[in-house]
Symmetry: C2
Amino acid sequence: MKLIKHGGVTSPRGFKANGLSAGIKRSGKTDLSLIYCDQSVPTVGVFTKNSIKAAPLLVTQEHLRNHSAQAIVANSGNANCFTGDFGLIYARQTAELAGALLGAEASEVLVSSTGIIGKPLPFLKIKKALPALVKGASVSGGHRAALGIMTTDLVAKEVAVSIQLSSGDKVTIGACAKGSGMIEPNMATMLGFITTDAAVSASMLQKLLKRAVEYSFNRITVDGCMSTNDMVTLMANGLAKNTMITRPGKDYNKFYEALHYVCLDLAKKIVMDGEGATKFLEITVNGAKTEKEAKDIAMKVANSNLVKTAAYGSNPNWGRVAGAVGTLGLDITEKTLKIKFTSFKKKNIQIFIDLNRGRQSATVYTSDLSIDYVKINGKYS
Amino acid sequence: MKLIKHGGVTSPRGFKANGLSAGIKRSGKTDLSLIYCDQSVPTVGVFTKNSIKAAPLLVTQEHLRNHSAQAIVANSGNANCFTGDFGLIYARQTAELAGALLGAEASEVLVSSTGIIGKPLPFLKIKKALPALVKGASVSGGHRAALGIMTTDLVAKEVAVSIQLSSGDKVTIGACAKGSGMIEPNMATMLGFITTDAAVSASMLQKLLKRAVEYSFNRITVDGCMSTNDMVTLMANGLAKNTMITRPGKDYNKFYEALHYVCLDLAKKIVMDGEGATKFLEITVNGAKTEKEAKDIAMKVANSNLVKTAAYGSNPNWGRVAGAVGTLGLDITEKTLKIKFTSFKKKNIQIFIDLNRGRQSATVYTSDLSIDYVKINGKYS
């Protein structure tokens, strides 16, 4: 597997992208993004499990029923969530307008939004900006698209890798993501757009994405808050002309490995850029009866405000880790529970928890809880 | 029901108490407390559901198997949790020494600790201080006992009320509590000691306390962190000479009402004095299918760092409330969910959530998440 320097969603062949300022963000920063290819291609998505689902998420789920898409239009600065009938109308109209400009069916255009909940989407601004967005799209526009989905993110999050399949064909996977706040699992509560030139059947894509997300975006948490808007999509245009991956096997595994790398890389970048984050915590639970148990406990520790503030303060208060582990009420005692950790003074902290009651493990990643997190979220609106 | 001014654990007849500095806290503040009466009386307790249980909690559970006790010795500054065999030995020896000084069986003395986890209990300091603790106990010592259980609490938490039973007998309930951090439900994750001169059978006491705790201490959260040490006890010495309450009925209900008032008063005081708290939030969920559903959703909102920082910043970001409500994955949509709230600029904020799917309700109380919470918990050790 080869990491592509400065790679992103336009690293795989045949994808164009763009990002510009439509004026949704008062700051004037890039807030509207487009990623597309020349025709409809197998595309799948995974979505937030929050009951309250944003309008664009509902529309995208509808448009992905046929497991096919040609383009994604995403905006930041407004979540278009809890925005009533107009929210849905605007999401649909965005897809229609972009489709018309691209020569695609509206149902082949996915829409996505991130930002504040409950404020009307400034649709006219989007409508006005769409022609320039489409016109300016190019094979070097991946970074601009990554900029257009940022909210409180401090850095754009992109990655691309290439691998060689057993046939000798080289395939590339590229992606961008945004995170920062409202990051908790139960599906990647963030936005992530992944592209690939590999030929993979839609059913395999779905299987691959679901698993890759489970072991990456679903293993991170910044503040334990699940979002209403978040989605990860994977488009596969097949331009690598490899023998299509239609079942599990050698190429499926190779592709999975690369896809998982891409997802985990972005997930870690989201944690490192978590709102106010000053530390990166890796929490591993071993000796659990089931993987779910290991993950649940690791998440409980990762979401403990007491553990997170201890990390922030470089204060190795492992009693708080023990307290968090015990919260789930499992049959664990201080005689069987083992906790080890690396120095809390470093930027990267590893915490190892051994439950000594089984053979399953899980690792999750989180950031600390800092004064800046409180400042950012006390002011944001 | 009459509220007793400056009342506390020694307001009911026959209870003496004391608090002094044994030197456990480096600050030299009061850190050792005693509450007792002249003989063993019906006593019950409820305890943390954390799997990791502190040594004094295990010893107290053992000593309460007969539903009877004469005294409580509690220290702050050290949780005596995750302290191995010595932790248990010290907890038992504390009960033995206090028992010897009071002329009570060790098994009639309850022990309780709060403070940092994982550091050896400075038992010699406690041993040395016990004679003076017992000697100085008096019917006016309730406030000193309340001081001795404080950790990061800024104010002592006490309350007492008296009621008249149907027989005309006046009975009094007094209590003190500590809270501040690691406050989440699943039993009052704090310390609370309640005394009464009412005559109530142990089985009724247990029923009364369990219910009163469920609708008070179990309805508050400061940081969603469940402690390893926390307990609420209720001692009833019967000196009011009322007809003993041995079954549900009129006097049982009157007593419950007063007991619940005492517990809720302390629970609210704990929230108001939550670490770094600048706001008091009352979150009511209506229209739920079950009371548990209402409580779970209210707690999810109460524990949302995004809602709590919004409260801190006087930022009425109700989208975050909606996002938190949706987290549980219930069948709720933006069309049915109604959210109302009072001004976020005030110190007291009320949030009303109507799920419109049933007739059950629950109210929980929490504080905001402030810069000071992070400061306090980044440094504490």
